[in-house]
């Protein structure tokens, strides 16, 4: 009998996790990852408190890290929203990367072909082209899923690859090649994004989209249909919701949002396309996958995604000081990000299960 009496913990399934619990669990996961990373910092001889205060003071200093923090953070927000809208119908949009590249192509094509246009016309045109290109690319994956039942994850990943190499071929030795090996020609000055308090105006566009998306998903008829479909395709069928059409719709919206980030990413600073060498494969595109983690952690709430994205952006920016300022080994910054993301993902477990002590 003794063997049966030793274990005192028991898992219980949680039917529905509330917003408050989600916030608590996420904060807990952050604390946890900070503690784990402290161990690595200590091993490398750094004072964790000192390191963390350096990270955040750098990331939030308007003269140092803040512009990049905001720029990157809100880039993540675009990806998150692209993921959230599709995942509300329970489609895994992992095609944000491809949609972002396509959006880039759309925006740059407009800028290169009409460099003399007035910014007030050129910039909206670039955004529009980015959104349309991204939407088309998303719709393609949505169509494959909705009409032909091709798994959207497989479809998206393959399309991502195609999109990356399209940008690569255009930029490296292609028609858009610049002077440096892996960068494009600079954008015409008229295409540069106006900066409003430290960050391109498109950052505010992202916040606006988040709020609109929140209202769309929770208050509109189409948003309701998307959520019914996401919760139960059978129930959706029983009340006359057209699943294929809805799948295409969410992927199109998601694609359009991700496509907009093609302009946001490049048009402020440095204002030209930087394609890393294939060895350092797709460094920027890879950032879009944060959208998945942030979306899930925020329980698909677009408004909650705003601060979360900026926070991740601050860690992204701030952790660079570990190497540059504190002279710690290269790679520690990346390790920190990896830790945060993996504990975020692992703590999702507590969204579904509650650990109970047995008496």
């Amino acid at each position: 009998m003794t063997s049966l009496e030793t274990l005192k913990l028991k898992l219980e399934r949680v039917p529905v996790v509330s917003g408050g619990q989600a916030v608590r669990i996420s904060l807990l996961s952050l604390v946890f990852s900070f503690i784990i990373f402290s161990i690595f910092l200590s091993i490398e001889g750094a004072n964790p408190i000192d390191a963390y205060s350096n990270i955040f003071s750098f990331a939030l200093d308007p003269n140092l890290g803040l512009p990049t923090t905001l720029h990157r953070g809100l880039f993540l927000l675009f990806s998150t929203l692209a993921f959230v809208v599709a995942y509300s119908a329970r489609l895994w949009n992992v095609g944000m990367e491809g949609q972002f590249y396509l959006g880039t192509i759309g925006a740059f094509a407009v800028a290169y072909s009409l460099p003399e246009l007035h910014p007030a016309i050129l910039i909206p045109l670039m955004l529009l082209a980015g959104a349309i290109f991204g939407a088309g690319y998303g719709a393609l994956a949505g169509f494959l899923r909705g009409k032909l039942n091709v798994n959207e994850v497989v479809g998206c990943l393959m399309l991502n690859n195609i999109a990356f190499w399209l940008v690569y071929l255009l930029t490296v030795g292609g028609p858009w090649a610049g002077i440096a090996e892996s960068t494009s020609r600079p954008l015409p000055p008229n295409a540069h994004a106006p900066i409003i308090s430290y960050t391109p105006f498109t950052s505010y566009l992202a916040i606006g989209i988040a709020i609109v998306l929140y209202v769309f998903l929770s208050k509109s008829v189409i948003g309701y249909k998307i959520r019914v479909l996401g919760n139960s395709p059978t129930a959706a069928q029983h009340i006359g919701i057209n699943a294929p059409r809805t799948y295409i719709l969410v992927m199109t919206i998601g694609g359009a949002i991700a496509g907009l980030s093609g302009y946001h990413m490049w048009a402020g600073d440095p204002a030209f396309l930087m394609i890393p060498r294939p060895e350092a494969y797709k460094a920027i595109g890879d950032l879009t996958y944060w959208g998945l983690i942030i979306g899930l952690v925020c329980l698909l709430n677009p408004v909650a995604a705003i601060p979360t994205s900026v926070f991740i952006g601050s860690i992204m920016m701030g952790s660079t000081v570990l190497v540059r300022r504190l002279r710690l080994p290269f790679g520690l910054d990346v390790l920190f990000l990896g830790l945060v993301s993996i504990t975020f993902a692992a703590f999702q477990f507590f969204y579904m299960y509650k650990v109970r002590r047995m008496k």
Binding site: L4, E5, S220, V221, Y224, K225, S232, I239
Partner: protein, 512 residues
Amino acid sequence: MHREVGRGEAILEVRGLTKIYPGGVVALDNVDLEFKSGEIHAILGENGAGKTTLMNILFGVLQPDRGEIYVHGRKVRFRSPLDAINMGIGMVHQQRKLIPAHTVLENIILGHPEAGKILDFKKVRRDIEELCRKYGFKIDLDARVWQLSAGEQQLVEILRALYRGAKILILDEPTSVLTPLETEAFLTSLKSMSRQEIALVPFVTHKLPEVFAISDRVTILRRGKVVKRIETKDATMKALAEHMVGKEVLFVLSKPKVSIGGEILKVENLSAMNDKGLLALKNVSFTIREGEIFGIAGVSGNGQQELAEVLAGLRRVETGRIIFMGRDITNASVLERLKMGIGYIPSERLGVGVIGGFSLAENILMSLYFDKEFVNRGLLNYKKIREYAEKVISEFEVVAPSINTKAAYLSGGNLQRLVLSRVIPKTSKLLIANLPTTGLDIAATEYVRKRLLECKEKGMGVLLISDDLDEVLQISDKIAPIYEGRFVSILQAEEAQKEVVGAMMTGAYSER
């Protein structure tokens, strides 16, 4: 008929069992029970009486907050079902947990601790054949499970438990999916098993008569408490039912006199395939008129599901026509039918009828979202939706703290009330009710039937699909026994005799 009881050895005993769920719901309150070998000890109770909790505790799925469990007089603690199995407790679930494509033998071996090692199939076969002989089971060990009837599948589950050394068998609603004929055979097997040193514990919500017939002892749970312990020979069915519900039970609902009006639905030579692409509904024709309940009696899987889905627009029609209010709707979409006033109560509640992660109001919205009254320029008018939801939820007596409660927290009967409150007020002409009372307790069942009769009174046509023959006989105006996708006959309720309908729906009767 009844043997002397109480002579066997106590195999399993629980004392002072208490379980309180988060949120303060007391599921079990100080329950004492004793299960003896050679005895069939039935546990009766309505939905929400604590039966499932008790079952889960006995089988190690849940841990009690207070109280002790004794096996053969020794105090134990079950950490998981595996501990319970190792202590000789077997469970036969209501939902079969067998692999249809595998043989009986393979299914019995599956999950056995020896199964990881190299198996001596010959020895295993001999052992199981020995078990079958001992308990008088007749079953082909090489048959594939999908070829077996529901009753035989249940025997396989029992064999599996016995092969793992079970001395006490917990049976969750053992007869709920069996036809009358199968039930009889199955109960005979149980009876002969109980003569050996096995304790049987059937848990029952409905289907009282069957269990009543074979049990030695009955314990009734209500709201987590034991309200009655009685030896079957001293009990009457009516008294048991009253203890379960806690009030006088109306076993007979009075059918309101309603004048039958014009034709609502006319179905001509309708055929449809099932999911496997086989013809499941064959050439069915009938009409439903205003104020009429058209009952379809049959054992599940004889084409009822397909018929319901075809009428609701969820399944393609192969041949034939559906005329609704004089209009051909054979190819109309689900949404068009909903807008015409056709309501559908699906057989599955959670996940189809309602969505667990949605609040009550959002669930009610499933029947409103296409209604202009609740939509303003593409946006949902939540104020109106909430008002409406409050109204129908109180009208249909859904018990919940508020309309913001998630449906996942509702129990079976309440869940069905929620489905009804969503569907019925928005149905004006034809209600299709697919297994509306399956799995519900007596009070909830009675409630659902009353609501269906109310629809009839209001002049709607109702298509009732049920595997409960008594229910069909009790509230329908016309009865169509269905067998292998065909209506064997269409009878007026007054002329339908239970024996005849029962024979018709099991294929034992053919009209010349």
